[in-house]
């Protein structure tokens, strides 16, 4: 049984079929999902994390069905994500952002909070230490008390990663984590991800446009186009796949594919 498995996932928005019977499975390591704009990659993430309800199909994580669960329940099970357009809690500090991510790991009641029970104080200091360790991991320890909105772009991306690691996920979904980064920064981030896979045994699904990153870091690559899976395999196999080349570059003589998409 795979760690994470999606079967025949279908999603329609009105008349538009955003995803059509997409299968996806991941056992371990890093899997990438690529495809032209509008292929349905982020929609797939939104279904995996419970933000959208799928119209058909099934998603299981460690054998447990996910469809119908709330986003916070899915996070509690061990799946967390980042967003394509960074969505931090802008007016909170870096460490507070990470602490919010730990919410599903806190078993304190209202009474613990109001009475400042020993359990509460112990939990809070334990969480703070963990949050600092996470910030340290992504290289943001010095900025722990900085308000998120004041951080430079690259740091905000890394903070979002630290926040996504806060609920101790077994599976991490990263939506274009290197967008807007230089090749050098992207390389550093990928080394960080490799480290996470090696140290924590984390599985990662990556949506990525930077092909150099995808080819370098992925164990498997899935290609979506128009809401359908058109190819899957090792980076090399995918690179040589005719349909993939077609989807990205268009077919000779058939006119640009982009025109149809627009």
């Amino acid at each position: 049984m795979a760690l994470f498995e999606a079967r025949r996932v279908t999603k329609r928005f009105g008349g538009l079929t955003a995803l059509h019977r997409v299968d996806f499975a991941l056992e371990q390591g890093i899997a990438s999902i690529i495809g032209p704009n509008g292929a349905g990659k982020t929609t797939l993430f939104n279904i995996f994390t419970g933000l959208y309800a799928a119209d058909d199909g099934s998603v299981t994580f460690r054998g447990q069905p996910l469809l119908g669960l709330r986003p916070d329940q899915i996070t509690a099970l061990g799946i967390c994500r980042t967003f394509q357009n960074i969505r931090l809690f802008s007016n909170m500090t870096a460490i507070e952002n990470v602490l919010v991510g730990m919410n599903s790991r806190i078993a304190l009641g209202l009474w613990d909070v109001l009475s400042h029970s020993r359990r509460f104080r112990r939990t809070e200091s334990h969480l703070a230490a963990r949050a600092i360790a996470l910030l340290d991991r992504v290289g943001l320890q010095a900025n722990a008390n900085a308000v998120a909105r004041s951080l430079p772009y690259g740091d905000r991306r890394r903070l979002e990663l630290a926040r996504a690691l806060a609920p101790e996920p077994a599976l991490l979904l990263l939506d274009e984590p290197t967008a807007g980064m230089t090749q050098g920064e992207a390389g550093t981030l990928m080394r960080l991800l490799r480290g996470l896979v090696a140290d924590l045994g984390l599985a990662i699904i990556l949506i990525e446009h930077n092909m150099r990153v995808v080819m370098e870091v992925s164990d498997r690559v899935t290609v979506l186009d128009h809401g359908e899976k058109i190819a899957e395999g090792s980076p090399r196999e995918v690179q040589e796949n005719v349909r993939v080349i077609e989807a990205y570059l268009g077919t000779r003589g058939a006119g640009p594919r982009g025109a149809r998409r627009a």
């Binding site: 933000l51 994500r81 809690f89 909170m92 507070e96 919410n103 609920p167």
Partner: protein, 396 residues
């Protein structure tokens, strides 16, 4: 460290001045200002809190002895501080714009008004009003009833944001007021627009006069509310609320249980208003729906925004400023202009006595308040004491 003697001096002098000129509004404002100065001064924490405690626990009741109206003002400030702190949780922390907040205040007030007066005899048979000590039980009953009402309001509006939420809460506030106004038939619950009276007061300890008693009780509740507020804010609950305010989608994806946290915000915010409602009804002896109008909700919201959203000192100062402005400054200003008019003072060759009645100062009190609000929002939109992020010790 010049601020140490300065702080002590300012409080002592202003308190003395109030004792010497018990009728002067300006002097009383000076006293309030001195508390603010002490709060902001760079002095040892211990001294700061002892000074504030001395001023509020000793000086204020003494001032009240000379001029009982000031004690009334202080009690009202206390009531509104608790309301502002409650609304601050809902609006400031969780970012849920609530325009009907006074409804929870009303629910608390009516819960004691009905059972603490002979009125309940109409609904149930005999045995009312309840004995005075039940008042203390009803402080908790008011809290529970208001919190439940908060959850009942929260349930239908969970999916609403911003403008839509504001409109629904506005409607909710009106529904409660209209219910209070009309629930005198078929069963007389609220006695309609005539209101309920006489509402029992609890027996006071040590034979304290009621003015002092309600002042101390309001102060005690405010202190409790501030502590609860701070503890909530510095916990995973407060962080979850703020995360919802900042980005609801991201908050859900990070594991924040949205429904539970929103309902908790509504319930916590409402509960403070419920407790103060019980105190209010006992203090006033008489309540009717007029005390719980839409304008009251807006007033409390103005306190929160003026003070600084999401900031506890902001809510406290905002509530104080607005209450004092309404009860004292604008009234005082009106009286002063009237005195000038009656004395026949002329300004630039124009006799104030010729001023048409339309220009009577009392008539534009609200306008002055409005202008102050507008100016504040233009020049200091973040409020008097904006929320500051907690800075953590990073250890090592």
């Amino acid at each position: 460290m010049i601020q140490v003697p300065l702080s002590v001096g300012v409080v002592a002098v202003s308190a003395l001045a109030v004792a010497m000129f018990p009728r002067s509004v300006l002097v009383f404002l000076l006293f309030q200002g001195s508390l603010l100065f002490v709060y902001r001064a760079r002095i040892p924490e211990r001294l700061r809190w002892s000074l504030l405690a001395a001023a509020l626990l000793v000086l204020m009741p003494v001032i009240g002895y000379f001029n009982s109206y000031y004690l009334e003002v202080a009690t009202q400030v206390g009531i509104f501080v608790a309301l502002a702190l409650g609304l601050n949780i809902v609006v400031g922390l969780a970012g849920l714009l609530d325009l009907g907040y006074v409804a929870f205040f009303a629910v608390g007030a009516y819960s004691w008004a009905i059972f603490g007066s002979p009125h309940a005899n109409i609904i149930l048979r005999g045995g009312f009003p309840l004995a005075g000590w039940w008042f203390y039980v009803f402080l908790l009953v008011g809290l529970a009833v208001a919190a439940t009402t908060g959850i009942l309001l929260g349930l239908p509006v969970l999916r609403l944001h911003g403008d839509y939420l504001a409109i629904v809460t506005l409607g909710f506030g009106e529904v409660i007021r209209v219910l209070a106004n009309n629930l005198d038939k078929p069963i007389n619950f609220t006695n309609g627009p005539k209101g309920i009276t006489p509402i029992s007061r609890p027996p006071t300890p040590f034979g304290l006069p009621y003015g002092e008693y309600f002042y101390f009780l309001a102060l005690l509740i405010v202190v409790a509310v501030v502590i609860v507020n701070r503890r909530l804010e510095d916990s995973h609950i407060g962080r979850a609320w703020e995360a919802i305010r900042e980005d609801e989608v991201a908050a859900r994806a990070m594991g924040v249980p949205l429904v539970r946290m929103k309902l908790m915000a509504f319930a916590c915010g409402a509960s403070f208003a419920g407790v103060m409602g019980v105190l209010f009804s006992a203090k006033q002896v008489f309540i009717n729906p007029e005390s719980f109008t839409f304008l009251e909700s807006i007033g409390v919201l103005a306190m929160v925004i003026l003070g600084g959203m999401g900031s506890i000192p902001g809510a406290v100062v905002g509530a104080t400023v607005v209450t004092v402005l309404n009860l004292q400054v604008l009234k005082g200003f009106s009286l002063w202009l009237n005195e000038l008019k009656n004395a026949g003072v002329t300004v630039l060759g124009y006799s104030l006595a010729d001023l048409p009645t339309q220009f009577e100062p009392a008539k534009y009190e609200r306008m002055v308040f409005g202008v102050i609000l507008v100016l504040m929002m233009i020049f200091r939109p973040q409020g008097i004491f904006p929320a500051r992020r907690r800075q953590r010790e990073l250890g090592g």
